[in-house]
């Protein structure tokens, strides 16, 4: 196996996935700001300022919106787990096991062991790392097919349900990453 060249292009692409993933994993403005600092170069210049502005938000306000959207949603607005979009909808379904298998093949697994592995944030973060690691295009395509396809619908839901700019921006980014062939490798 050959480690990918740490090229700016690869890193930028990975950064976008990692930024998108992290925006769904944490409600800490501080953590997100640090991540954004690191990912800013990867963003189109027109998107940088909106992201910066979106993170000028109090911790409790962000937490309230995070919980409302992802943890205690009004009629399940945009639950972030892939298995929830299967039939019947449930946590820890087949997609959880499939994601876990991917992680384990890389020698990793989610740190929070009682939580589903098919969280959109984990999937996007993992994929970003795959990109950065120089995974073969066939592997990337397989992962996208297995675990990222549902995020197009998810991002639309998120965009519609979000009450703060941060999650509208995250939705736009996710949608671009999973839909746009120019962006997705």
């Amino acid at each position: 196996m050959t480690i990918a060249q740490d090229t700016a292009e690869t890193r930028n692409l990975a950064a976008l996935y990692l930024l998108a993933g992290r925006s769904l994993l944490t409600s800490s403005p501080q953590e997100l700001k640090a991540v954004l600092d690191d990912a800013e170069e990867a963003l189109p210049s027109s998107a940088r300022e909106p992201w910066r502005a979106a993170l000028q938000i109090g911790s409790q306000d962000l937490e309230k919106e995070y919980v409302r959207l992802f943890l205690s949603p009004d009629h399940a607005a945009c639950l972030p787990w892939q298995s929830v979009y299967a039939d019947p909808p449930q946590l820890l379904g087949d997609a959880h096991h499939a994601a876990l298998a991917w992680y384990r093949r890389c020698g990793m697994e989610p740190s929070r062991e009682n939580e589903p592995a098919d969280h959109a944030g984990l999937l996007l973060s993992f994929y970003g790392t795959l990109v950065a690691s120089g995974a073969a295009p066939s592997e990337l395509a397989l992962f996208r097919r297995q675990h990222l396809h549902w995020l197009a619908g998810f991002s639309r839901k998120l965009e519609a349900a979000a009450r703060i700019p941060l999650y509208r921006l995250a939705a736009e980014l996710i949608h671009a990453l999973v839909q746009d062939p120019e962006v997705a490798p």
Binding site: D6, R68, P88, G93, R104, N114
Partner: protein
């Protein structure tokens, strides 16, 4: 796969200094090195927790995730089978709506259209806040200001409630078996869940739709009984599943079962058809024979026919058949109308007398007491210091009902009246565990109550209506996420225990109520939560000790490896009965049921609470669909698909024709306290003066994605009551009267 752990580490804190310091790639909080690269699959023995028989389960688990369940061979309850609810276990465990973290409300306005503004808090913060609130409230307003809407179980939770002197604890039992438990204590020696259907030759059912309740142990028992030649007779206004299964069905007038039972006793006593050997040796019949014979003479079959619409000849014949076909049983259980009508105390007493006269109390073919392993509770393992006295007013008014007070159960049906009208402002703190006000008669009063109480905690596994209104929500683990021991109390002629083993750790940050009990106890009454060695109680050590003392193994791990333990022994019928004040005998005449205590030593005729009038000409009945358990299963997508998210009212075709109602029309059902609108489903299987609506639908919480805001609440037309009303009605064992409403029905144009 070409990516290796080494590659991964390069980007997540490993080799590349540049990237390791990058916040983008700092994923340690989210990923860690894998413990195993294999998908571990194993089989675990456990027990269902949806309803009380707790059928044994063989669970297939992959990587700590439940994948498949099946019945456990050799288990007395399920006999190797699971019902639809039990088989849908994954739908509960992995419901996407499950509460995942402790949460604190930030929006002070409460209502179903209000966003609670939840924010996550740590368990420590949640428990500190709750403990402080309890301490402050108790100090300022006394123990009576605390309301706990919870069962008195498990034992750690009971210890916690006792340790802080909780006065006001209420539960659902008045809607269930409270009446039966109180009456049986004095007549036969105690509540029992066990009926020896398979050896019975004659089964008399007052209202209990056994086959539609999907308790496998009972349904199988009925099938075996029929296979063995038993006759089944059913009194029920609806031609129910059990009615269809029965040899004889009588569409009895709602609330008049008591009249039939009284007339049957009259026939059996006056014609000396009772089981003489049992009655002479094991009951107080001889002591009170004169009173008994004299009392029941008034209840003739002809009188009973006028009250019940059951023909006098049929009552006479059934009474003789019941007495002469041995063994015979009239199962008394929570659904034997115990909770339904204001005359339930009298009815359960009468049914108990029928069983005593049949001579089948703890006898083959009758109702018997389970032979059980004795599992010690925490107070036996670690004896506590003396508990503080319980001082204060009872918000549900049960201190006006001496037998209810003595029993210890609470009352849903009077709680809202107590909080809002009898003692306004008294309750300052409420803790709901696994209960929601949707279960109450007139749940709107429950909503008002929740708004009136300054601080509410709700612990549950789903965001119920009550959680929606709470100040702090705690995510509850469910039965598949904890270890425990279940001692069989259904169909247990010999002791059997099953290891309820966690098939998976609690999801997210869910915890069991014993954890909450212990943690609140440490904060509020630490002296009650220490071992004799001075350390705080450890829940795992406690369970090990219980297993050891019960003789099930050296510890839980050993018991778990066995899964199911049965102690083979012969069934030896009891000769002394544990009746309260009965001197070891069953009591037909109950001297303790005095007028001064609002009771009667022998059952007397009392009408139901409400009877049809010109304004409200129809009886209103409710039922629980077989695929559901009360109101706790409706968010399960598999079960919802089986019955549908909304339910139609069952309208007799004859009534529908008179009212111009057609199949699928929307109708309005109105009682003196409220109305509901829903679709009509016409049926020939219901008395023409009744309308039936399913219970458990109509959750208001917008946070329930399957069941939220769908269907109607049957309770909206069922009047809640005050404790004084119960006293006036002679409802001395506290039945909640959930079938006692009368209504009008009209088509909605």
């Amino acid at each position: 796969m070409t990516i290796t752990r080494r590659d991964w580490m390069k980007f997540t804190g490993g080799a590349s200094a540049a990237l390791a310091s990058s916040p983008l790639f700092a994923l340690d909080e989210y990923f860690r090195p894998a413990v195993s690269r294999q998908a571990a699959v194993n089989t675990i023995t456990t027990a269902c927790g949806i309803c009380s028989p707790a059928c044994g389960i063989k669970a297939t688990v992959q990587d700590g995730v439940l994948r498949f369940v099946e019945g456990l061979p050799g288990d007395f309850s399920g006999e190797g089978h699971l019902c639809g609810k039990g088989a849908s276990a994954a739908g509960f465990l992995y419901d996407p709506d499950r509460l995942k973290y402790p949460m604190r409300r930030t929006n002070p306005r409460k209502g179903f259209d209000e966003d609670p503004g939840w924010v996550r808090v740590s368990w420590t913060e949640a428990l500190d806040t709750i403990a402080q609130k309890i301490a402050d409230t108790r100090q300022q307003f006394g123990a009576e200001s605390l309301l706990f809407v919870t069962l008195p179980a498990p034992d750690m939770w009971a210890r916690f409630l006792n340790s802080i002197g909780v006065v006001n604890r209420i539960d659902h039992i008045d809607e269930c078996f409270l009446t039966d438990r109180i009456i049986q204590r004095y007549t036969t020696g105690g509540k029992s869940w066990s009926v020896d259907f398979e050896n019975s030759r004659y089964i008399l059912l007052f209202g209990w739709d056994i086959l539609a309740k999907t308790k496998i142990v009972h349904a199988n028992g009925m099938v075996k009984a029929k296979s063995n030649g038993a006759k089944v007779v059913m009194f029920n206004p609806q031609f129910s599943a059990t009615g269809k299964f029965a040899d004889e069905w009588h569409p009895i007038r709602p609330g008049s079962d008591l009249a039939v039972a009284l007339a049957m006793i009259n026939i059996i006593v006056s014609e000396n058809l009772y089981h003489k050997e049992f009655v002479d040796n094991y009951t107080n019949f001889a002591e009170f024979e004169t009173q008994i014979r004299q009392h029941f003479q008034q209840f003739t079959p002809e009188w009973a026919e006028r009250e019940s619409d059951v023909p006098a000849d049929a009552i006479r014949r059934i009474a003789r058949e019941f007495a002469n076909t041995r063994p015979a049983v009239a199962p008394a259980h929570k659904k034997t109308l115990c909770a339904n009508y204001a005359n339930a105390s009298q009815l359960v007493h009468a049914i108990s007398i029928l069983n005593i006269l049949a001579g089948t109390i703890d006898r083959p073919g009758g109702r018997y007491f389970a032979r059980q392993f004795s599992i010690p509770g925490v107070d036996a393992v670690y004896p506590p210091p003396p508990y503080p006295p319980k001082q204060g007013r009872r918000v549900d008014g049960k201190d006006k009902l001496p037998f209810v007070l003595e029993d210890g159960g609470g009352m849903f049906s009077t709680c809202a009246d107590g909080v809002l009208r009898q003692y306004p402002g008294m309750i300052r703190f409420a803790f709901f565990n696994a209960y929601t006000v949707l279960a109450w008669p007139q749940p709107k009063l429950g909503e008002e109550m929740l708004k009136a109480i300054p601080f509410t905690v709700a612990m549950d596994f789903l965001p119920t209506d009550t959680v929606n209104m709470a100040d702090i929500a705690l995510p509850s683990a469910i039965y598949l996420e904890g270890n425990d021991v279940v001692s069989r109390d259904y169909s247990a002629k010999m002791p059997q225990a099953v290891a309820r083993t966690a098939v998976a750790p609690p999801i997210f940050e869910a915890r069991g109520i014993p954890f909450v009990a212990l943690e609140l106890g440490k904060r509020l009454a630490p002296e009650f939560f220490r071992t004799p060695a001075g350390e705080f109680i450890n829940l795992n050590t406690l369970l090990d000790e219980k297993i050891k003392r019960a003789g099930l193994g050296e510890n839980f791990a050993e018991f778990r490896a066995k899964g199911l333990v049965t102690r083979e022994q012969n069934f030896v019928p009891m000769t002394r009965f544990n009746t309260a004040g009965g001197g070891g005998k069953c009591q037909i005449y109950v001297p303790q049921f005095t007028r001064e205590k609002g009771a009667d030593p022998l059952p007397v005729w009392k009408p139901k609470r409400e009877i049809p009038t010109a304004d409200y000409p129809f009886y209103y009945l409710t039922f629980i669909p077989a695929v559901h358990k009360r109101l706790t299963t409706h968010n399960n997508p598999i079960l919802a698909e089986m019955f549908g998210p909304e339910e139609p009212a069952l309208v007799p075709a004859e009534m529908a024709a008179k009212l111009g109602i057609r199949e699928g029309d929307r109708i309005r059902v109105t009682s003196r306290v409220g109305s509901i609108e829903l679709k009509a489903h016409l049926t020939q299987h219901l008395r023409p003066d009744c309308v039936m609506v399913a219970h458990g639908f109509g959750h208001r919480s917008r946070l329930l994605s399957v069941s939220g805001q769908k269907g109607v609440r049957d309770g909206d037309v069922i009047p809640a009551q005050s404790a004084d009303e119960l006293v006036r009605a002679g409802n001395f064992a506290g039945a909640s009267c959930i079938m006692d409403a009368v209504v009008k029905v009209e088509r909605v144009s």
